[in-house]
């Protein structure tokens, strides 16, 4: 009792039970995983047969670069996730107070939490690659199973880095701001690879060619790269020695991080305890209240949005994705033949719809005091409209820059882009209003994933509207086709007040659009109720 292994078993049990909770959202994630697994298998089996005729992968500049890029992508995503998880190891109380009040070394608690984080990372990434990798391993290249070793090394390395970054943040900006800082940093790390992949757009072709030449001086194209550049490829294709080296290196980083962070874990975790974002008592004069339900709700949602740091980091991530488009606008389009004005209009419109969807999902569905709303003598539609308006208004501010730049280049294009963005944003807002998944804000990310129907509908509507905007910007009469299709699709997805209230009140119900009703609706909902879900 009290050993690291015993503590680890306790944490794993809690993590496993937590993963099994989540009701409809959990089922949605399982369905998504099943679909991804099916797609992976669909691609993996033929690939396994194709690769059967290929022997070992030659160590060329291209193959090494691809392997390095894949590894870098996985590593950045893992680091973004582990940074947030490592921060939570300091803040999430749960049983932490109990553990720290027991006669157990704080470092041991940290090691166990860190191991669980690393294991979760490894398990999640393994689940993603297995459907595609397993057929290749079975059919043609058994040695490629060594990729799991690479994943384990990455998970250990990312967790170690996450712990170090967390402690650095705690020391640099203090426990009050670290949680928020970690979310923002994770968003930046998560987007780093995408932004760097757009380097050609950001920095121009000449500078990129210069960088590639510099790399090529180190790694000759006509000669197998001998040193660390080639390690990822060699490890993934079964070089056991390199895998062992990677695991040992990552293990050292992990152990070093646990040792360094563990020295002050108890102190830092205690400092993080009870930290809230309370403001000092103010003697500033009272401002006037806003009047009316709509305005009061709008203000309340704006405040909650601006104070929701995890959400803002998500928004920041999307904004980072928009950056390359903005750079193209500023540098001028079309000179490298990859981006034309219509393409940009289409891309910005699509991003606007997706960003609006993320914000509307939160404002419409996240509600910490649903009973208060239910008690109020107001029509739900007014509140819903206010919440959607609260979600869409910051988006207009974010998009103002790119739209102004586009308008300066071409007034017509700017106008089309503005109409496209507003239409896509409104469509996303409406869809999220129709398919809301009410949950407390505090529980939101854990158990209330966005409605799958809403996500798919939003993607479809966004794609159609962005296609219409792109074609319209190009002056094509064909723009009407996707525009009409978008209107038809959005109308088909609409739901009346009664349907929305019924779904809000019963999270086991299957989400169905207005046109899918009657016997089908009854049958689907009866089936849904047979599946037990965790009730809040």
């Amino acid at each position: 009792m009290g050993s690291t292994a015993w503590l680890l078993a306790h944490e794993v049990r809690l993590t496993w039970r937590g993963a099994r909770e989540g009701g409809a959202a959990h089922r949605g994630q399982l369905i998504l995983l099943a679909v991804m697994a099916a797609v992976g298998l669909f691609l993996g089996v033929p690939l396994g047969f194709v690769l059967r005729s290929v022997g070992s992968i030659p160590l060329t500049f291209v193959s090494v670069a691809i392997a390095d890029l894949v590894l870098a992508a996985v590593a950045t995503l893992m680091m973004a996730a582990t940074l947030v998880a490592a921060t939570e190891a300091f803040y999430t109380r749960g049983d932490l107070d109990l553990l720290l009040s027991a006669p157990i070394e704080g470092r041991r608690v940290l090691v166990v939490r860190a191991l669980v984080i690393a294991f979760n990372m490894f398990a999640a990434s393994s689940m993603l690659i297995t459907p595609m990798l397993a057929p290749i391993v079975v059919i043609s290249h058994p040695a490629w199973a060594a990729s799991y070793g690479v994943l384990a090394a990455l998970a250990l390395f990312a967790t170690g880095v996450g712990l170090i970054l967390t402690l650095l943040l705690l020391r640099l900006i203090g426990p009050r701001r670290t949680r928020a800082g970690a979310q923002v940093l994770a968003a930046i790390i998560g987007a780093a690879l995408f932004v760097s992949s757009q380097a050609q757009i950001l920095f121009g072709q000449d500078r990129i060619h210069l960088a590639i030449n510099l790399v090529q001086r180190g790694v000759r194209v006509d000669r197998p790269p001998a040193f660390a550049y080639a390690w990822p490829l060699r490890a993934m294709t079964g070089d056991v020695g390199v895998v062992a080296l990677l695991i040992m290196g990552a293990g050292l980083v992990f152990a070093g991080a646990c040792w360094w962070v563990g020295r002050s874990y108890e102190t830092q975790a205690s400092a993080a305890n009870g930290v809230s974002s309370t403001l000092a008592a103010s003697s500033r004069p009272l401002r006037r209240f806003v009047g009316g339900t709509f305005a009061a709700t709008l203000h309340k949602e704006w405040r909650l949005l601006s104070r929701d740091v995890p959400l803002m980091s998500q928004v920041l991530l999307r904004v980072l994705y928009l950056l390359p488009l903005v750079f193209v606008s500023i540098r001028g389009v079309g000179h490298d033949g990859t981006w034309s004005l219509p393409t940009m209009v289409s891309a910005i419109t699509f991003m606007a719809g997706q960003l609006a969807g993320s914000l509307a999902w939160i404002t419409v569905s996240a509600e910490d005091a649903p009973d208060l709303i239910a008690l109020a003598p107001v029509a739900p539609a007014i509140l819903r409209r206010a919440k959607i308006a609260a979600a869409l208004s910051p988006l207009l501010l974010l998009l103002a820059g790119p739209l102004i730049i586009l308008t300066m280049r071409s007034a017509y294009t700017g106008l089309v882009a503005a109409v496209g963005c507003v239409s896509a944003a409104i469509a996303s807002g409406l869809i999220n209003g129709w398919y809301q998944r009410p949950a407390r804000r505090t529980e939101f990310r854990r158990r209330a994933a966005a409605s799958m129907v809403a996500g798919l509908a939003q993607f479809l509507a966004g794609a159609l509207i962005s296609a219409a905007a792109g074609l319209a910007a190009d002056g094509s009469i064909l723009a009407w086709a996707p525009a009409v299709l978008a209107v038809v699709a959005i109308s088909a997805m609409s739901r009346d007040e009664q349907q929305m209230q019924a779904l809000s009140a019963d999270e086991t119900r299957v989400e169905t659009p207005r046109w899918l009703s009657g016997a089908w609706l009854g049958w689907l909902n009866r089936r849904a109720r047979q599946i037990p879900v965790g009730q809040s």
Binding site: A280, A281, G292, A296, T297, K300, R307, L372, V378
Partner: protein, 242 residues
């Protein structure tokens, strides 16, 4: 005296009947304590009165307004404060009150003045610009109570309003409730602290298995339980054990 709340034949069944043909009348301007053992149906009854739960059967009239057919009008004059405060952690008390007054359509200028006096009265004025997430349970409860009072409801329903409060906070809440009753409002509360009901309530209703077991002033209840001079606790235990 007019009737603030009239409940007739109210029924609600979950796995088993929670409220079973309940008849209850609360007079205007009185403080009515609804008592009962755990699972007796108190909260279910009050949630149906507040419009949070749809009854299976029965009628609810609040100051003559049919709460089932004209829920909006009934909600305008009613406030509900549950044991778990209906708050937003990331809002300050002033921002919370601004939102709640907006929901009830209170004029902005009037709402601001009321918010100032309520927060002062409840001892929260110094904390008006702090987010609720750092509040103690008592402070949260008092903030929620301010929210319930901002539209000056004619009927105030409180479910276990004193749970988890320290002596000072409990005293403030009791004073506020007494003041509201003195100002003409009607208060219905549930509580497990029988001493509070004994001291504060004009009339007491005891509910068990979703039915009204006994009702009246403390003296009347003593008479019904044949225990003259007994405390409310003794009366309650006698009646619910019978």
């Amino acid at each position: 005296m007019a009737e603030a709340l009239v409940i007739k034949g109210l029924c609600k069944t979950f796995d088993k009947p929670a409220v079973d043909h309940l008849d209850l009348t609360v007079r205007a301007g009185e403080l009515y304590a609804l008592l009962g053992p755990n699972g007796a149906g108190k909260t279910t009854t009050l949630r149906m009165v507040a419009g949070l739960l749809r009854p299976d059967d029965g009628d609810i009239h609040i100051f003559g307004v049919n709460a089932r057919t004209d829920a909006k009008s009934a909600k305008r004059i009613t406030a509900w404060a549950p044991d778990e405060p209906l708050l937003y952690d990331r809002l300050t008390p002033m921002e919370y009150l601004e939102f709640v007054s907006g929901l009830w359509g209170v004029d902005a200028v009037i709402a601001r003045d009321r918010a100032e006096s309520l927060l002062t009265w409840l001892g929260l004025w110094e904390s008006r610009d702090q987010r609720c997430e750092g509040f103690s349970r008592g402070m949260k409860q008092k903030t929620a109570l301010a929210g319930a009072l901002i539209h000056e409801p004619k009927l105030l329903i409180l479910d276990e309003p004193l749970t988890g409060l320290d002596a000072a906070a409990a005293r403030v809440v009791k004073d506020v409730l007494s003041a509201r009753v003195a100002a003409g409002a009607t208060v219905i509360l549930t509580t497990h602290i029988l001493d509070v009901a004994e001291r504060m309530a004009d009339r007491i209703g005891i509910i068990q298995h979703g039915r009204l077991l006994a009702e009246g002033t403390l003296a009347e209840l003593r008479g019904r339980s044949d225990r003259r001079g007994a405390s409310l606790e003794d009366v309650f235990l006698t009646l619910t054990a019978a």
